[in-house]
Amino acid sequence: MNRYLTDKLSHWVVLLCAFVSLLILALIAIFTFQQGFPAFREIGIVQFLTGTVWRPGQGEFGILTMILGSIYVTLGALVLSTPLGVGCAILLAEVAPHQVRGILRPMVELLVGIPSIVYGLVGMMFIVPLVREIGGTGFSILAAVIVLTAMVLPTVITISEDSIRSVPQKYKDGALSLGATRWQTIWHVTLPAARSGIITAVVLGMGRAIGETMAMIMVIGNAIRMPTSPLDPARTLTGNIAVEIMYAAGIHENALFATGVVLFVLIIALNSIAFVTRQREQEAE
């Protein structure tokens, strides 16, 4: 075949690929919103977001308890995994000798790859009985926070490490030559310079935490009620969809899609934070 014809043809083929891909992705967003919309209309958006009763049988749909469940576990995991993850990233990028890094790095990569369901299983078999010792049934927000912390930790570590590593050597040399200790250099020069990458790491970790579904179902107890203590069971937004979608119909199904819309909006909000931080950083440079 004529090579100019091939050239034209392949142009159209890759254009088609791009078009189909973007169409599918757009479709997912549009479909979720379109299916969720009737629920907002019939139940009322305020009632849906602030209602604390979820009884699909009686036509009562309020997801406040689940919004709080998702937010609590995500914030808990964030608070625990950020210092740990950033600390470990500093160790990998700046402090540890080469050999230690050679051992630690593959371990973190393995931790990234282990399926979340395995974290859930270990949580269910080990963490839940441990929490039961403190009080309650053990299926609780606390157990979920511990499992999620282990799960998002490698995400925070790898992305923070990359951004710490990409800080130009001359910045650090400048600080060191002024007589700063290595730690002063890290704290006052390297970390501020790597700030946007670290924020991205934390935001992506939060995204992973909010989106986790099956491992949460296994350890959080899935009860629909107002959580008042870390030892209480709760239900996450994702868990609500997974547990009920198989037998949902009519307005119940719409309400589950609406739950998906809430998740969607949360993720878009999180991503925008990361996006804006990166944008600002680029402008500053």
């Binding site: 090579r3 189909v20 470990c88 500093i90 282990i114 395995v118 078999m125 700063a180 099956m214 296994m218």
Partner: protein
């Protein structure tokens, strides 16, 4: 009280090494716990027998392994050409305007959307509307949607690394744009693309939520694309939550961790070879 810089540094070093030790401890604990509780149930019988169901989860995981392989192969076969094609268009052909930027932003956002939302979409579209029912086909299509953004991003990244000079040299020799892409850009970007594919395999093996609502969970041997099934991860979930056969669940966990170790070793080996080639040794 004000600490001297030296003392502060010592304290900071303790905290930093402490977080490293805790991370290693978490990993060793998870892997060790799963192996300690799962290895005793591992045997050739476990690998090559059908799951028999029942409260103690008798039988093995042969059908589950077969289903996992079908699902992963089909998913990769769908997602690779689409993702690579789209990435080539976005990085080589598309002009840099607001539409491209919007597309990139959309792809990045969807890469972070929870998998259960893809599950919701797959359940409503493939399972219900298109009547593929709970099947490997529905599962693969859903999984392909989930992995598509990742595939596009990874491919674009590795295409971007190819130096401009190489493209211009090829064009200057009279090659068409496609010949340049086909013979210069793609070979140089190939290791990155393969790493992306392996990454997708790993995620497909580990994914549970979006398959839970599209794959059905049948333990029988899959006979066609339209028969239901369960992957290793899904099997682990059913064993732990429904059958409550925890030792078998742990054994399945061991297999999953072994697969991830193999995948990681493969990726590292590939990227090392790639680095060696870039350095020209």
């Amino acid at each position: 009280m004000r600490l001297s810089p030296k003392t502060t540094q010592k304290l900071a070093w303790v905290a930093i090494w402490g977080s490293g030790v805790i991370t290693i401890f978490i990993l060793l604990f998870i892997v060790g716990y799963v192996f300690a509780n799962g290895v005793s149930s591992l045997s050739w019988d476990f690998l090559f027998m059908q799951p028999a169901g029942g409260l103690s989860g008798e039988g093995g995981i042969s059908t589950v392994i077969v289903c996992t392989i079908y699902l992963v192969l089909l998913t990769i076969a769908i997602v690779t050409p689409l993702g690579v094609g789209a990435a080539i268009y976005l990085s080589e052909y598309a002009s840099d305007n607001w539409i491209t930027r919007l597309a990139r932003y959309g792809v990045e956002t969807l890469a972070g959307v929870p998998s259960i939302i893809f599950g919701l979409f797959g359940f409503a579209l493939f399972v219900t509307v298109l009547h593929f029912n709970f099947s490997i086909l529905s599962g693969s299509l859903t999984l392909a949607c989930l992995l598509l953004p990742t595939m596009i991003c990874v491919t674009e990244e590795s295409i971007k690394i190819v130096p401009r000079a190489q493209r211009e040299a090829s064009l200057a020799l009279g090659a068409t744009k496609w010949q340049t892409i086909r013979h210069v850009v793609l070979p140089a970007a190939l290791p990155g693309i393969i790493t992306g594919i392996i990454l997708c395999v790993g995620r497909a093996v580990g994914e549970t939520a979006c398959l839970y609502v599209t794959l059905g969970g049948s333990a029988a041997m899959p006979t066609s694309l339209l028969s239901g099934g369960r992957t290793l991860s899904l099997h682990l979930y059913y064993l732990a939550m429904d059958t409550r056969a925890f030792d078998k669940a742990m054994a399945t966990g061991v297999i999953l961790i072994l697969i991830i170790i193999i995948i990681n070793t493969l990726t590292n080996w590939l990227s090392q070879r790639y680095m060696a080639r870039v350095r020209g040794t």
